[in-house]
């Protein structure tokens, strides 16, 4: 199974080249809106990898993960927009948002330490909703979040004198903001991948798996279950917070609507349908679930016009219908996900037999 070093190097260089030119190829063939979709795919990869720490590694079912994304996003927005007229640079507000998100992770994690399975899912769901309700309503009597209108004109990232919010010319190439952000997101995504990979293959990663498999035996081996769980919540939230800050500055506008339950479910679906606990699987899940709906959007409408001469099902409706159905069918047919780790695949196989 182990590839020799040359082969590994070749794969590495090839993927680096593909990833480097991807936005130009896509931009010139399919248009810049698709580059934007790829940018979002990278954001979702970060989010899904963050949630994967909690759900996949530690086995804690979290249905309110979007709350940490929201914390990161609002932190950036409030510290970099005309709303309070504060304009902190990104290298302060993104770490700040990530740190704050991690603190919220601990805040959520501490009281729910003893809960398992469905119960944990419901409580985290409730936590996510509470955060959203507050964002929606904290515009009076003191206007903090600007309520349902959300926050507008969020600062783009500035690196040196370069603003990622405007197009730049480099050697005759035009780099649009979607291109510029692509490279920032790609860099951070790679960082997150390295982070979760290394965590997984460390004593901490082993502790998470041990706890997931048998928490009593894990405790009997001297593992401090409380700390291990909290660490999972905090690190997961941290990644969510980073992605949130990036989302905020990339989009330039945020409102509570972006942080609903459906988003949490979407991210959970990326993790589960991709292959829980398996980093390549989770990345695949995030990419597929970001790109597929966009393809459907382009396909569903015209297809119906062709087949029936009119729109029977509006594309948004059809998209969600397919998404829901995919979740059900996937669980029935291939509960271990599209690209599971060997270990997970074995677990599911056993469960089916049992």
């Amino acid at each position: 199974m182990t590839m020799d070093t040359n082969k590994k190097l070749a794969v590495f260089i090839a993927s680096a080249i593909v990833l480097a030119v991807l936005p130009f190829v896509v931009g010139n063939t399919l248009g810049n809106s698709w580059v934007r979709t790829i940018d979002f795919a990278l954001l979702y990869v970060m989010l899904a990898l963050g949630l994967n720490i909690v759900v996949g590694f530690a086995g804690l079912l979290d249905l309110g993960f979007i709350a940490f994304y929201a914390v990161g996003a609002y932190t950036f927005a409030l510290l970099g927009s005309p709303h309070f007229d504060i304009h902190l640079p990104f290298y302060i507000s993104i770490p700040l948002g990530a740190g704050l998100a991690a603190m919220f992770g601990l805040l959520l994690g501490t009281p729910v330490l003893k809960l398992k399975g469905d119960y944990l899912a419901i409580v985290t769901l409730g936590f996510g909703e509470i955060i959203r309700i507050f964002m929606n309503n904290l515009n009076a009597p003191v206007n903090i979040t600007n309520g349902p209108q959300g926050i507008n004109l969020i600062d783009p990232i500035q690196i040196g004198g370069l603003s990622l919010g405007k197009a730049v010319e480099v050697f005759g190439f035009t780099l649009n903001p979607v291109h510029l952000y692509y490279y920032v997101f790609l860099f951070l995504t790679v960082m997150v991948v390295i982070m979760v990979y290394r965590l997984q293959h460390s004593r901490i990663g082993r502790a998470w798996v041990a706890m997931r498999e048998d928490s009593i035996a894990a405790a009997a081996m001297g593992l401090n279950i409380r700390n291990i769980k909290l660490l999972a919540f905090a690190l997961g939230a941290l990644s969510g917070g980073v992605a949130g800050g990036l989302f905020s500055t990339f989009q330039g506008f945020i409102s509570p609507e972006s942080f609903g339950l459906l988003e949490s479910i979407m991210i959970l679906a990326m993790v589960v349908l991709g292959g829980m606990g398996h980093i390549p699987g989770v990345i695949l899940g995030a990419v597929v679930l970001t790109i597929a709906p966009e393809i459907l959007r382009d396909v569903i409408g015209p297809l119906q016009m062709k087949a029936f001469g009119k729109m029977l099902v509006d594309p948004e409706n059809a998209r969600m219908l397919l998404f829901g159905a995919a979740m059900v069918i996937m669980m029935l047919v291939r509960p271990e996900g599209m690209w599971p780790s060997k270990r997970r695949a074995a677990e599911f196989k056993d469960a089916k037999k049992g």
Binding site: L199, R203, E213, D214, A217, L223, N224, R343, A346
Partner: protein, 256 residues
């Protein structure tokens, strides 16, 4: 030669109306194999869980190697040097044998999340040391040839040994084994006995619960007998065997 390693006094544990342990006191000396026997439902497993921190006793005192462990959580108990196995084997089934033992090294290593992410030299060295130690322990219990097998695919005897290796990985001063010979055939039991003696001779004190009284008599340096949650006898096997209270507990009115 008999230096006290573990000492409990006046331990009481109740579950609702059930008085599972009443006023039990005992001590385990350094370097011995100490056996805990008794009929079914006598409170052996409860005692065992109290000694390994899984249950918190209601009253009493519990000192181990100079530390007060009364009501200490399991990870503190393990850290101070008590490791255990389970009657109904609790391995991490989907992990390999090697990984199982590596989990046992958790408390004896210290790389934190930042170290793990940066993977600096200290972390890499530590990780290599963890793996080396795990290999060493697999060899010690004689199952290094199945290091890369998933725990659940191992034979019963190998699983027992793996559980012991995993417990040894925490570097215990006291190794507590909950019915390690259950379900084993005579030749497996014999080699398990040899392993336990090897562990003791290597300087680790052993606490043993066992149903197989014959095995216990031949193996243990000292034995305590529990009945109805009370200690009815304690001492060297030859004396305990002849104790009328013990004979009555085992041969008299059946409790089962």
């Amino acid at each position: 030669m008999s230096e006290v390693l573990l000492k409990i006094e006046g331990i009481n544990k109740r579950f609702g109306g059930l008085h599972a342990l009443s006023n039990v006191s005992l001590h385990i000396n350094k370097g011995e194999i100490y056996g805990l026997i008794g009929p079914n439902g006598a409170g052996k497993t409860t005692m065992f869980n109290v000694l390994t921190g899984l249950y918190t006793p209601d009253e009493g005192s519990f000192t181990f190697d100079g530390n007060d462990l009364f009501r200490a959580p399991p990870h503190v108990v393990v850290k101070s040097g008590i490791a255990r196995t389970f009657q109904n084997i609790r391995l991490f089934h989907e992990m390999t044998a090697l990984e199982n033992v590596m989990v046992g090294r958790h408390i004896r290593s210290k790389a934190n999340a930042l170290g793990a992410v940066l993977r600096n030299k200290a972390t890499r060295d530590e990780e290599a040391a963890i793996e080396a130690k795990a290999w060493e322990l697999l060899r010690y219990v004689g199952i290094e040839d199945v290091a890369y097998e998933r725990a659940k695919n191992l034979s019963y005897g190998h699983q027992r040994r793996l559980e012991i290796a995993r417990a040894l990985a925490t570097e215990p001063k006291l190794l507590a084994l909950d019915e390690p010979a259950a379900g084993m055939n005579p030749s497996e039991t014999e080699s398990l006995k040899a392993l336990m003696e090897k562990i003791r001779d290597g300087g680790v004190t052993v606490l043993l619960i066992e149903h197989d009284v014959k095995l216990m008599m031949g193996l243990c340096d000292r034995i305590a007998v529990l009945d109805y949650g009370k200690k009815i006898a304690e001492g060297v096997p030859e004396v305990v065997r002849k104790d009328p209270k013990v004979i009555e507990a085992y041969l008299g009115v059946a409790h089962e």
